[in-house]
Structure formats: structure tokens, C-alpha cells
Amino acid sequence: MSEADLLSPEPAVGPATERRLTRALLYLDDVRVTFDGYRALRGLSLTLERGEMRAIIGPNGAGKTTMMDVITGKTRPDTGAAVFDGVHDLTRLDEPAIADLGIGRKFQKPTVFESHTVTDNIVLALKGPRRALASLFGWRNRVEAARVEEILVTVGLIAHRGRPAADLSHGQKQWLEIGMLLAQDPKLLLVDEPVAGMTDAETEATATLLRAIARDHAVMVVEHDMHFVRALACRVTCLHEGAVLAEGSIDAVSGDPRVVEVYLGR
């Protein structure tokens, strides 16, 4: 490091932390990921504003889940930028660090802690210090019942609070996982196929729930179900072969001839 660098008032610590690059909450630029020669993401660029809800659609293999893996630190991109909150370079952080920044994720296959009760699943997700010693002696052992109950009422699982999560139905596990996201209270929620395997009534209830959550969180939802996407009433991005194909309102995107082509095949 030269003398001039040392004397400069704001030391350069890398492009991401120098200053806010963008006002967007999430900023992906030209992200590329290759698995064994298969190019899963081929220059994906996307921004998400604060408080925005966005639906991501696209055929199988479009790169939707890989994109979420990049954002949550599960997969490192070969090249490209992934910046959260204008300052955090997501490509340099691991999963717990990214979760700590305030990015929560719901998986396609509901992933709850099966041998724990519904209540304990929420307790484990609650926002707060997560170091081992803090868990051994600290606040997570003295959680206010009301705090957990409020979340369980919201996701409709209050009657099931004492049951092991393994005993829940598929749809209930999906809701429990959404409840865990609420407990985490992240700035950005990534929700992967939340209504897969749900009945129509359950799907509708889930759309309502997500709209309620989107009032004070940024939400990104990956989904195949077009009725559900329409019910979310938000901006839609269509991915295809690892890049953005179209973006806009649901009507504009679903009317786009290129989108119709990739969905219906050639």
C-alpha cells in the first residue's frame, strides 16, 4: 500500500465497501456460474429495490435456484457482482454471514427441523445473537411466549405449536418455514416455490400472507404457478438459460412472444 493510500481519508477496501454503489437493496451484475462445463448462469443482471416484491419465473433450468444459491452464499459465481444493501459483497461471504446481514431463504422443498416442535422451529429462527455460548446461556432460553405465538397465529399454526414439525402436512411445513422467515425478520426474503403441492385455498392464503409480509420486507418469490404469480400483483422477471429474458408487469411478461416461446417450446 502506497503512502498516498494510507493518507487518504477513506481507505479503499475493495470496490464494494468503498461507498454505496447503488441504492438498490440487491444488485446482481453479469453473474456467471458454471458447473462442470454447464453454464447455469450466463451473465445474469438484476436489481431489487428496497421493499419491493418480485416474482421470478422461468422454465426448468433457467437458473432460478442457482441465482438464490449465489445470493445466499451457497454457490460462488465465477465472475460478476452480487451486492447487498449497496455495500456488502455477497460473493465474499459465507452462508451464516449473509443470513446475518438480513437475507432469509425458504427452500423449494420445505426444510424445517423435523424433530423439533413447531414452537422450537420458530425459536431457533428468531432474530438475535447466534453464537454457541449465547445459545447455551443467553436470551434464546428465555424467549417471550407472546413473540412466538404472534408469528404462529400469522401463519395459522398456533393450534399445532406443540407438535413435532415432522407431523405437519406438506402445506403446513411450507407455512412453518415462512413463519421461520418472519421470525428471522430479514431485510430480504427469498422464497422458492412456496405453493408447490398446495391446494387452491392454501395457495390463495399463501399469496395473501406474502403480500402482507411484503408491506415491510423486500421479497423475491420464485414460482411456476401463474395464478399465484398473478395473485401476488408485483413486477415479474422471466429467466431463461441463465439470464433475464423479460421483465415487467405480469401481463407484459406473459404476453411477450419470447416468453411464450420458451414456455411452450419451439
Partner: protein
């Protein structure tokens, strides 16, 4: 501030039974050994006091293994290493207590060192003449090994069978190292011919009873520590890591830190078990590091019921009692019986003795509270209309 969520009792029903039984034998054994006269049919011979003490030391080893295997999914096939290291630390203290009473009469050097032409005590033997230092090493040496090994393995996300294999390699490597005479720890003969512990003759009847009681106390304390850990939020995270480790990362937990802490505490418990085992059997040698010993400990836990703590201790006592009986009657049959036991338990009693008992007992309780009907979330439906 509103009401907090109820926390499971530190000592639940099975814990009360366990600690109660432990207290009962702590009353009975001294009484039957020291008070009941030798001629009486009720008299408990001193060799049996030490044998029971050995069982309790194994029970503590099993408990420590259950903490990492049952609650954290770390199938350690090398827990004998921590047991052995704790045993060696105690053995080194006991060797230094021999003083000039050895065969060669050297006031400082143990007999085997004189025999191997050592002129002075190796540096790592310094301090072991004092009990507090030795006691500290009983905890520190296994703890440090577990910390270094655990941190490296867990940080690299080594799990499952690969982790089991490297724990096995760890104990095997230690066994080979301790067999070497150059190691300065008695080579294949190990450390033996102990005389005193804390100034009392180690063979004396009263000392034997005291060692038994100390082992029982260590088992009770070990149980309470393990139980405190497992019922806390820490223990819940540990179980979450066992069942879905990647998911815990996306919640912001660092599984490697949780696992390392459990592994270190467990190794220290195993070290204490080894330290209490050595004066009661009168010898420690490298065969304690043999992989088969560690695997045997896994079988104890499986038989008793993993993830129950009490079951692990019970399994260790039952299997070792069976071993005592069978090796006395049919020495060659023991390994076959052990293998058969493991197969039978895996096939017919996968939750072990205590795990199965809890299931039976617990399901009757659960049937009392009827599971509520699945429903569409009421509040959601309301909001949907609104």
C-alpha cells in the same frame, strides 16, 4: 415483560430415576464393602467395588460419546483416544507418586525410564508430580486435541462416514505413537505398578471405595452438564445441525462452532472417565487407544439408546457386565456375542433400550392430547376476505 416459553426440566423423570439409582448404589457399595463384615454373605468384595467403578467410568465415556453422536450426529469412532489421554495424564501422576519405591529406586525417574537409560525426566513429565496440574491436564490434553481436530474437520465441513473414519485414524495414530518406547510413556507396557494417590495407598480398601464414589460423582456431574447443554437453546441448535446442517447456516448459525464446543466438552468428559479408570484397574497402556475400544463404546450407546444420555450410561454398564460374565465363562465367544448384539439391536431395537421405553411410555401420553385438525389459517382467510 410477558411469560417466557417453558423450558424442559434439567432433571426429568428418567434423570431422576438415573440419579436416584446412582445415589442408591453410592450408599449400598460402601455399606456392603466397609460395614458388612467379610464373613457375611452380603459382603461385597473389594475387587467388585473396583469392577463397578470401572463400569461407571465406561458409563461416563458412553455419556460423552452420546453427547456428540446422539445430539450432534458426530459418530466418533475415536473417543477411546480422549479416554486414553485422560488415563495417561492420571497414569503419569501416579508414576511420579511412586518416588524411590520403584525396582530401581530412582527417586525421580520411573522404572521404565531407568531401564531405557534415560538420564533425566522428559520435559512433558514436568509438573505431573502435583495432582492439581495432572488434573488440569486430564481435561486440557483431550480438550485441546478435540478442539484442534474438531475445528479443522468441522470447518472443512467433513461429516458422516468420512468424519468417522478420520476419528478412527486419530486414535489409531495415537496407539502407534504410544507403542513407541521413544515416546517416553512406557511403550507397549504402558504405566503401571502404582502406589499412592493423593498420599493414600491406591490398593487400600477405603481408597477403592473412594475412587468408586468419585467415579459415580463424575458420572452424575457429567450427566448434569450434558443435560444442561442439550435442553438449552444450544442443544436445540445441535439437534438442528444433526438433522439439517445446511439449513442452520441459512439461519445464520455456524455449525462448526456448535460442533466444536460439544466435541471439546465431550472429549474432556471422556478424559475424566479415563483418569478415573486408570487407578481402579491399575494400568494404562497403548491398547486403550485401539480402534476396537472406541467401536465398543459406540455399541454401548446404541444398545442403551442414543440421544437419551441415561441410555448411554445404562448401555455401557449392561454390556460390560455381560462382557465380564461371558469372558469369564467363554472367553472366545465375547467378540461374536458383541457383534451379534450390535446387529440385533440395530435390527430390532434401533432406538436402544431407553429410547424404546420412552417411545412406549411417551406415545401413551401423547394419545391423551388429541392432535388438532389441519386447517386453513384463520387469520389468513380473514385477511384474504378483507
Amino acid at each position: 415483560m410477558g411469560a417466557t416459553l417453558p423450558r424442559p426440566a434439567l432433571v426429568d423423570l428418567k434423570g431422576r430415576i438415573f440419579l436416584g439409582a446412582l445415589a442408591a448404589i453410592c450408599l449400598a457399595v460402601p455399606l456392603l464393602n466397609l460395614v458388612v463384615p467379610e464373613g457375611s454373605g452380603l459382603h461385597l468384595p473389594t475387587y467388585l467395588v473396583s469392577l463397578f467403578g470401572k463400569y461407571l467410568a465406561f458409563a461416563l465415556l458412553a455419556l460423552s460419546l452420546d453427547l456428540v453422536w446422539g445430539y450432534c450426529g458426530i459418530l466418533s469412532l475415536g473417543h477411546g483416544a480422549f479416554f486414553g489421554l485422560g488415563g495417561y495424564a492420571m497414569g503419569m501422576y501416579l508414576m511420579r507418586q511412586i518416588g524411590p519405591r520403584g525396582v530401581y529406586g530412582n527417586p525421580v525417574l520411573p522404572d521404565f525410564m531407568v531401564f531405557l537409560n534415560y538420564t533425566e525426566l522428559p520435559w512433558y513429565w514436568l509438573g505431573f508430580d502435583r495432582f492439581p496440574f495432572a488434573a488440569l491436564m486430564v481435561l486440557a490434553v483431550p480438550g485441546l486435541l478435540a478442539f484442534v481436530f474438531g475445528w479443522l474437520a468441522f470447518r472443512s465441513r467433513v461429516t458422516g462416514v468420512y468424519l468417522s473414519i478420520i476419528t478412527q485414524a486419530m486414535t489409531f495414530a495415537l496407539m502407534l505413537a504410544f507403542f513407541r518406547n521413544d515416546m517416553g510413556l512406557g511403550g507397549n507396557n504402558g504405566l503401571t505398578d502404582f502406589k499412592d494417590i493423593l498420599g493414600f495407598p491406591v490398593q487400600a480398601q477405603g481408597v477403592r471405595v473412594a475412587l468408586f464414589l468419585a467415579t459415580a460423582a463424575a458420572l452424575a456431574i457429567g450427566y448434569l452438564i450434558a443435560r444442561f447443554m442439550t435442553v438449552s437453546a444450544y442443544g436445540k441448535v445441535l439437534i438442528a445441525v444433526r438433522d439439517a446442517e445446511p439449513r442452520t447456516r441459512f439461519l445464520g448459525y455456524r455449525p462448526e462452532a456448535y460442533k466444536t464446543l460439544a466435541f471439546v466438552v465431550s472429549a474432556m468428559m471422556a478424559g475424566v472417565a479415563g483418569a478415573l479408570y486408570v487407578p481402579q484397574v491399575g494400568i494404562i497402556n497403548p491398547s486403550e487407544f485401539a480402534p476396537t475400544n472406541s467401536i465398543e463404546a459406540v455399541i454401548w450407546v446404541a444398545v442403551g439408546g442414543r440421544g437419551t444420555l441415561v441410555g448411554a450410561a445404562l448401555g455401557a454398564i449392561l454390556v460390560n457386565y455381560a462382557k465380564t460374565l461371558l469372558t469369564g465363562a467363554l472367553p472366545d465367544a465375547w467378540l461374536f456375542a458383541l457383534g451379534a448384539l450390535f446387529v440385533l439391536v440395530t435390527l430390532f431395537l434401533p432406538k436402544g433400550i431407553v429410547g424404546t421405553a420412552i417411545e412406549r411410555f411417551g406415545s401413551r401420553r401423547a394419545a391423551a392430547r388429541l392432535p388438532p385438525e389441519p386447517e386453513i389459517p384463520g387469520k389468513l382467510a380473514e385477511e384474504g376476505r378483507g
